[in-house]
Assembly symmetry: C3
Homo-oligomer: 461 residues x 3
C-alpha cells in the first residue's frame, strides 16, 4: 500500500516535468555553467550534433577526435562493468536471490546515469562560476557552443564525452554495496539508499579530489579512483553490512557455515568482464588517447590484475589447502583495485608487486571479516574497501613522483572512507527506522526472488 502510493507520487513528479518540454530546452541551458560562458551571439538556427567544416578542418581536430573517441569507448567499457558486477554478484550468491541482485544492478546503473545528469555532474565538477551548490543543476549543454566541443573545454574530450565517462563511474559505488548487502536487504530500502549514495554522497567526495576540492589541494593522488570510487564503495558497504547483520545461518554456534555461490561460470564471466571494463576505467582515466599515458596505464593495470590472481591463488592455497576459484577471481579484482590509484605513476615491476600484495591482502581480509562475523557474500568490502585503501597508500610508497607523499595518501583514503562510512551508516540507519532495511526471516529463507519479485531466476528442466 505504502509503496504504491510512493510510486504514484514519483510518477506524477515525472509527468509534471512534461510541460517543461520545449525544443530549446530552457531548463538545460539556464542551468549548465558552460552555457553561461557561451557567447550570446551564436548562430541563430537550432542546435545540431553535426560539426561544420571549419571545425573539422581546424588544427588539432584529428587529435581531439581520437582523444574524445577513446573517452567514449572507455565509457562503454566502464558501462559494461555493470554487467560484470551483476554477474559476479549473482554468481557468488544463492540462486534464490538472483533476480533480486540483477534487478538492483539494473536499478543502480540506470538511475545512476540519470541522477548524474540531473545534478551529479555539475556538483562534482562545479567549474568556475559555481560552488558546490550548483548541486541540483541539470548538465545539458548547448550544442552551438564551441566551448563545449573543442580543446577550449578540454583537450581530451567534449562536454558530452566527459559527462558520459563520469556518469558510468558514478553508479559503480552503489554497485559495490549491492554485492555486500545481497541476499537479505529489502529491495525498496536499497533502491532509495542507492539513489542517495550515487546522487548525493559520491559527487561530494568525488569533488574533494577530482572536482578540485580540499583533497586535491592537499596533493592526494588518485589516478582512476582506488579511493574516490572503490574505498568509497567498500566502506559504504561496511556500514550497510554492520546495520544489516549477517545472513541467517552463516554464523552458527558450531562456527562459520559457508554459503557458497550458485554459479561459478557466472562469477567468472563477471570478473573477466570487469577486467575488460578496467581497460576503460584506468585507460580512460588518462583523459586522452595519448599513446604514452594510455598504453603505460594499461600495462600496469593488466600486470597488477595478473599478479593479484597469482597472489591470491598461492595465499589461499596455503591457507585453505585448495586451489580456490572464487579467491583467484577476487585476486584479479584486488589487483585491479590496487593499481587504480597509481596506474600511471608506478613502474611495471611495482605494479606487479602492488597486485601480488593486493591478492594476498584480499584473501586475509575476507577471512578476517568472516571471523568478525561481518557477512559480505561477495567479498566487496575486502576487494574494494581494503584494496582501495591499499592502492591509494601504495602510490605513496611506489610512485615515480616525489610529489606523492605517503602521509597525504593515507589522509586522503581515510577521509574518503570515513565520509562514505558515515554517510552510508546515517542513511541506512534512518531507513531502518523508517521502513526497515531487511526482509523478514521467511522471505530470506524463501529467497528474495520469489518473496520480492514473485519469480525465480531459473527454470531449467
Amino acid at each position: 500500500m505504502k509503496y504504491r502510493f510512493n510510486l504514484r507520487t514519483w510518477l506524477l513528479v515525472a509527468l509534471m516535468a512534461l510541460p517543461l518540454l520545449t525544443n530549446d530546452l530552457a531548463i538545460g541551458q539556464e542551468a549548465a555553467p558552460a552555457a553561461e560562458a557561451a557567447p550570446a551571439a551564436e548562430e541563430a538556427g537550432p542546435p545540431s550534433a553535426y560539426s561544420d567544416e571549419a571545425y573539422i578542418a581546424s588544427e588539432g581536430y584529428a587529435t581531439f577526435a581520437v582523444n574524445n573517441l577513446w573517452i567514449c569507448i572507455a565509457a562503454a567499457l566502464v558501462f559494461i562493468m555493470h554487467l560484470g558486477f551483476a554477474t559476479v554478484e549473482s554468481g557468488l550468491s544463492q540462486s534464490k536471490n538472483t533476480v533480486n541482485i540483477l534487478f538492483k544492478n539494473v536499478w543502480i546503473v540506470t538511475t545512476g546515469i540519470l541522477l548524474y545528469a540531473f545534478w551529479g555532474f555539475n556538483s562534482m565538477y562545479p567549474g568556475e562560476g559555481n560552488g558546490f551548490f550548483a548541486m541540483g543543476s541539470w548538465f545539458g549543454g548547448d550544442l552551438n557552443d564551441p566551448a563545449l566541443t573543442t580543446a577550449e573545454y578540454n583537450a581530451g574530450y567534449t562536454w558530452w564525452g566527459d559527462f558520459l565517462f563520469q556518469a558510468m563511474f558514478a553508479a559503480t559505488a552503489a554497485t559495490i554495496v549491492s554485492g555486500a548487502v545481497a541476499e537479505r536487504v529489502k529491495l525498496t530500502s536499497f533502491m532509495i539508499y542507492a539513489v542517495l549514495l550515487v546522487g548525493i554522497a559520491y559527487p561530494i567526495s568525488g569533488y574533494w579530489k577530482w572536482g578540485g576540492g580540499w583533497l586535491n589541494e592537499r596533493g592526494l593522488y588518485d589516478f582512476a579512483g582506488s579511493s574516490v570510487v572503490h574505498a568509497f564503495g567498500g566502506f559504504a558497504a561496511l556500514a550497510a553490512v554492520l546495520i544489516l547483520g549477517p545472513r541467517k545461518g552463516k554464523y552458527t554456534a558450531e562456527g562459520i557455515k559457508p554459503i557458497v555461490g550458485h554459479s561459478m561460470p557466472l562469477a567468472t564471466i563477471g570478473v573477466l568482464i570487469l577486467w575488460l571494463g578496467w581497460f576503460g576505467f584506468n585507460g580512460g582515466s588518462a583523459l586522452s588517447a595519448d599513446p604514452k599515458a594510455v598504453s603505460f596505464a594499461l600495462v600496469t593495470t593488466c600486470l597488477a590484475a595478473a599478479a593479484g590472481a597469482v597472489g591470491s591463488i598461492f595465499t589461499s592455497w596455503i591457507l585453505l589447502k585448495k586451489p580456490d576459484l572464487s579467491m583467484a577471481l577476487n585476486g584479479i579484482l584486488a589487483g585491479l583495485v590496487g593499481i587504480t590509484a597509481g596506474a600511471d605513476t608506478v613502474s611495471e615491476f611495482n605494479a606487479i608487486l602492488i597486485g601480488v600484495i593486493a591478492g594476498a591482502i584480499v584473501v586475509g581480509s575476507i577471512l578476517f571479516f568472516d571471523k568478525l562475523k561481518i557477512d559480505d557474500p561477495v567479498g566487496a568490502i575486502s576487494v574494494h574497501g581494503v584494496c582501495g585503501m591499499w592502492g591509494t597508500i601504495a602510490v605513496g610508497i611506489f610512485s615515480f613522483s616525489p610529489d606523492h607523499s605517503l602521509g597525504t595518501q593515507i589522509l586522503g583514503t581515510v577521509a574518503i572512507s570515513i565520509f562514505a562510512f558515515v554517510f552510508s551508516f546515517a542513511v541506512f540507519f534512518i531507513l531502518k527506522l523508517v521502513m526497515g532495511v531487511r526482509v523478514s526471516e521467511e522471505e530470506e529463507a524463501e529467497g528474495l526472488d520469489v518473496a520480492e519479485h514473485g519469480a525465480p531466476a531459473y527454470h531449467i528442466s
Copy 2:
C-alpha cells in the same frame, strides 16, 4: 529425406562457385560499382591491404583513420548485439528450446553477413550507375582503387568499413523475428524465411531511406534505424506470429498462463550486451568519429536507455504490483529503440522523455498483445515494432530541426512497417503452404532442442 536433398543441392551450388576462383577475382571487380569508377591505369602489381607512404602522409589521413577505426569498432559492437539477442531470447524462453534459439541466431548472423556481401550491400546502396537491380551483384572492391580507401569514397570510412558496419546491421532484422516466433517455429522454414528477410526485404526498405530512395527524398529522418531496422523487424515479427499462432497452453479457457523464461541471468546478460552494442549502433551511425556528433549521440542513447528502465519499472510495478526484472530489461531495450531515430537531433532532456515514454509504452504494449492472444515470448513486437514506431514519431515531436515533420515521420514508419509486415506475411504464408512453419504438438511439448537438434541445452548435475 527431403532436407537432405535440399542440403546436397545447396552444397552443390556452393561448390559450383569454386571454378570462379581466381586470384584477381573477376567476379568482384566486374560487379562493384566503385571499381568501375576506378582509373584504368592503376599500378600493375597485385592488390595489397597495406597502404603506401603517400597515402599515410596525405592530408587528413589521421582524421580519416580515426573515423574509419570508429566505424570498424562500431561494427564490432553491433556484431556483439547478436550475442545479446541470442542470450536475451534464450533466457526469456523455456530451457527445452534453448539450443534451437541459439542455432537460429548463429544462422542469422552468419548467413546475414554473407547475403549482404553477395547482394544486400550493393542493393541497399546502389550508388551512381546502378538502380535497385544492381541486386545480385557481389560487393567485393578493388584494393588498388584509391576511390575506395579515401575521403573520395566517404570522409568517414573505407568501402570495407562501410560494408562491415552495414552488414552487421542487416542481420538484426531477422534476429528480432527469431525471438517472437521462438518455441514453436519449424527450424528449416525459419532458416529460409530469415534468408529472404535479410537478403531481399531489408535492403529494399533500407534503400528507401538510407540508400537515397523515396522516403529519404520525402524527408524522413531515421538516424540509426528505429524504423529501418527495429519497426521493420518488429512488424515482420507480428506477421509471422499471426500466421504461426500462440504456443500451446499459453491462452487457455482459464485465462493467460504465463510461460516464464528459464534463466534471468542469461536475459540480463543479453540486455546489457545489447546496450553495449548500441554504443556502436547509434554512435557508429554518426558515420565518423566526429567528437561532437558521436559523444552527443551516445549521451542521448544512454539517457534514453536509463529512462526506459525507470519508465518500465514504475509502470510495471503499478500495473503488476511487483518489481519485474523482465519488464525492467525490456524497458532498457525500449528506451534504446526509442532514441535510435533521433539520437543526434533531440536534446538530452527530451531523450530522457523519449526513453521514459518508451519504457511505459513497452509494458502496456506487451500486456496489450497478450490480451489479443498474440504470443510473443520475448516481447519483440512491442520492443522493436511499437517502440521503433514511437522513436520515429518522436523525432517529429522533439527534433531540434524544423526540417523534421511529424507527418513525414509517421508516413515513413508506417510505410516501412507495412512493407515488412506484408513481405513477412507473404513469405511465411507460402512457407506454411509448402512445407509448414510450425513443429508438431509432440515436438513442441518435448521441446525443439531434442525434437529438432537431438540434444538438450543443459546437463547440469
Copy 3:
C-alpha cells in the same frame, strides 16, 4: 604435502623480489634493450606516463595516437578471448569439471601475462643487440626514452602497446591445450605445463616467424597466427592428449559414447565472444589503424567466420543428419582460425572459400580424431591445429602476392606444429613420470571440481 612445500617455496621466491624495490627500478632499466639505446642525458626528473607538449604537437602525433589506441583496444579484444575460451571450454564439458576449467583459464591468462613480461617479450622480439638469449630479461621500459613512445620505435604503437598486444596473444596457446585435456588432467601438472608452454615454447617458435627468425627469412606468411598461435596450440594439445589418454567411458567396446557439454548457452557465449575478440586478433595484427589494412582484414575475417559456420552446418547436417549447434560453433572458430594467416592478403571471395572449407574440414577432423580414439572434449585439435594448418596453407593458394609460396607455407606450418608437438610431448611426458598428469579414476568419476577444488560449480535450487 608436496604441493604446500612447493607453494611456500614459490612464495618465498616472490617475496625475495621485494628488496629489489626501488623507485627507479634498476632491474627493469638495465635489462630492457631499448633502454640501452636511450640517450644518457635524458631530463633528470622521475619518469612520468604523461606526454609533454612538444610530443603532442609533433608531426604525425595524431596518426600515432590513433594507431597506438587501436593496438590497445585490440589488446583488450584479444584479452576478452580468454573469457571466450573459458566459457566455450566449460560449456562443452561436463558440469562437474567446470570450476577446474575456469581455474585453469584464469591461471593461464594471468601467469601468461606475467611470464611474457619477465622474459617472453624480449625473447620473442630480441631486437638489435640481443640474441635469443636475451631470454630471461625483464621487459620494462624507460618512460623518459622517446625511442619507446614515438615512431622511432614503431609507427604503429609504443613499447607498452606492443607488449600489451603481444602478451595477450601469448597465453592463447596454452588455453587451446586446456580445452583438449579437460576433464581428466591433473591441475598442478597442467599449471606447470602451461607455464612452460607459454613461457618458453611460444616465444621460441614465435621468434622464428614474428621475431625475424628463420621462418621469416624463408618467406613464411602468417598475418595473425594461424600457425604461430593456433597450429602451435593445436599440435601441443595433440601431444598432451596422446599422453593423457581419453576420458573414461568415452570409447567403449560398444563404440563411441558421446559425452555432451553441460551448457550450450555458455558455449555459444564463448564462441561469439571469441569472434568479437578476433576483431582485435586480426584487426590489430595490421599493427596500426590504417584504414585500408584494418577494414579489409576485418571484412575477410568476418566473411570467413560466417562461411565457416555455413560450411560446418551443412557438412554436419549431411553427416550427422541433424542441425548440430556445437558443430556450427566450431565452424565459426574454424573459419576464424583459417583466415588468420591471410586476412590481409586474400580476396573477400576467397576468404569465404577458406571459411567454408575450414568449416567442412573441422567437422571431418573432429569425427576423424574420434575414430582414432583421440579424445578432445572441445574439438581444439581440429579447430586450432588442423584449421591452423589449413589457413597457413591457404595463403599459398589464394594470396594476392606472388611472394607467398605454397611450399614455404607448408614448411612453416609443419615446422611450427612439429616443434609444438615435440616440446609438449617432452614436457608432458616428464611431468607424467615425475608427478603424474592424470587424476585418479575416482576423481575423474567424481569430477575435478569437488576432487581438486572442493567445490562444485553450480548450486541451482
